[in-house]
Subunit: 318 residues, 2 copies
């Protein structure tokens, strides 16, 4: 098929040129002891050190800075109770425009404060999908703000791919790259960058067994919505969108499922050995390698550590 | 006085040449939000990323690799229940010699396992200073091993100074440098490197208020032993030795005392904002800057984060 398939590696490169002044170029860390455990060479792309504490800053900045002056002047809006909301608020502040973040009224106070600290205007809604959508639509109608979906958006996807672009500038000869999958924005961008730079690379998604809709969807060949999830990886509770489903269907070689106990064990290894703070979603991308579950013995594996935003007051270690 | 004063900056440089192949050159990190809190520019030298998880690897490696072949062949011994023991074990293993570590029989299992994982031979003693010394002396007598004191040793002190040497290669124009003080090995080495490279720099020690023997000793002009300590900073419960007292008396401009609640608050800021794992002793060196207590508004402050070895199962956050 000769149809145009977007976004592609050039969109990721363009995104990187656009956002580079506003984001951190995060380090790539390695660990002797984790390499021994994995029986492979691991290269951790540390988006926990990204501004706002997660990779979401990349996509949000690309989306905000891709708006025309006229669009931008009306501000942006998104429904998000997590990292995307905080990132969109900061990206908007950097561009000097308004950002409305629609959050459920039962969201933890600390998340609300994070959005407000970056200058976002929080609009509360009921904790239902319907109320989220209606409230976001109402804000749009009142303000004219542009809706920036957390992952069903080409600019977001291209922006998230810049983490892998940077990783593979430093480590070009990776055999495998792993990213966590939820709505699929990060894994889509990761796969586009990785296969664009190195077609023979294997792209693996890490997904909680307790929220395995991407695994089910790719196996079924159509989107299987997530009707229930109960995972510590609170960043990974969304379902694929048509756009991310199409990209993942084409680019992803395997989705590796991770049990809850394996998420905690991977977090503990990363915190304890690497001395860095990563959120459960970050550990989900490391777990398939640490458990030697992806047939990559002796290989060079890139791992996207998605973020480091955790509540230090309620950690899962005992 | 024209007397020779050792170790000096040249000893630190020599130590660095000797140990560089065996240690990590740790990164220097910065944080926008911590700079705002401190009202100054902070440069964190991240010894939590050092091999064995603390700066102790520097001094131990310098001490072990400074031994003659004849001395080395008999092995090394030290009394230590903490980071020095693990570091000495690894340094000895790298050189291919034996290391005996004398630990109290009530030391946590995890610490014993760390020493053994690096190839150290653990010898248990009663949890008293007298039993430690007697047991170490007995091991020496039996084996001929060379005693490597954790801080009352010129090679150890010069080795610990290499962290500041690296820091100031990257950030030469520091106004202040802060390190935690316990037995005084790290602060001695820090002060020798800092004043040797930049005589006008201010050298500050951070010390828990609940273990303030260095503060008391420098004020009194003689060593005031620590008769009691009750601090979360379990790496900072030793007392100065004559050698470190002499160096600190000459080089240190101020010892800044830190309350227990301030140690926890500084840890929480560093973990939460910088996304790195530091032990309480590391937070002790950051707290004086974060609390704006050292008259360094707008200045450039180097902070030695001493290590990252913590028990993830019992963290002080709530």
């Amino acid at each position: 098929m000769a149809e145009e398939f977007r976004p592609d590696i050039n969109d990721v490169r363009e995104a990187h040129r656009l956002i580079a002044p506003y984001i951190h170029r995060t380090p790539v860390l390695t660990s002797r002891s984790l390499n021994e455990i994995a029986g492979a060479s691991l290269f951790f792309k540390c988006e926990n050190f990204q501004r706002t504490g997660s990779f979401k800053m990349r996509g949000a900045t690309n989306a905000v800075f891709s708006l025309s002056e006229a669009e931008a002047s009306r501000g942006v809006v998104t429904p998000s109770s997590g990292n995307h909301g905080a990132a969109l608020a900061l990206a908007a502040r950097i561009r000097g425009i308004a950002a409305w973040v629609v959050m459920p009224n039962n969201a933890p106070n600390v998340k609300r404060q994070a959005v407000e600290a970056y200058g976002g205007k929080v609009t509360l809604c009921e904790p239902t999908i319907r109320s989220r959508q209606e409230t976001a639509a109402a804000v749009q109608a009142q303000t004219g703000a542009v809706l920036i979906h957390p992952y069903d958006n080409d600019k977001i996807i291209a922006g998230q791919g810049t983490a892998t672009l940077e990783l593979m500038e430093e480590i070009p000869d990776l055999d495998v790259v792993i990213a966590p999958v939820s709505g699929g924005g990060l894994l889509s961008g990761t796969s586009i960058a990785a296969k664009g730079l190195r077609p023979q690379i294997r792209v693996v998604g890490g997904e909680p067994k307790n929220a395995d809709d991407a695994f089910q969807s790719l196996r079924a060949g159509h989107i299987v919505p997530l009707d229930h999830s109960d995972t510590i990886a609170d960043g990974l509770r969304a379902s694929l969108a048509p756009r991310t489903f199409a990209i993942l269907s084409r680019n992803v070689d395997e989705v590796s499922l991770v049990a809850e106990s394996e998420i905690v064990a991977a977090m503990q290894l990363i915190w304890g050995r690497m001395k860095i703070v990563v959120e459960p979603s970050g550990a989900v991308s490391a777990a398939p390698a640490l458990n030697r579950r992806i047939g990559a013995d002796g290989k060079r594996i890139g791992i996207i550590l998605s973020g480091g935003n955790v509540d230090l007051g309620s950690l899962p270690f005992s």
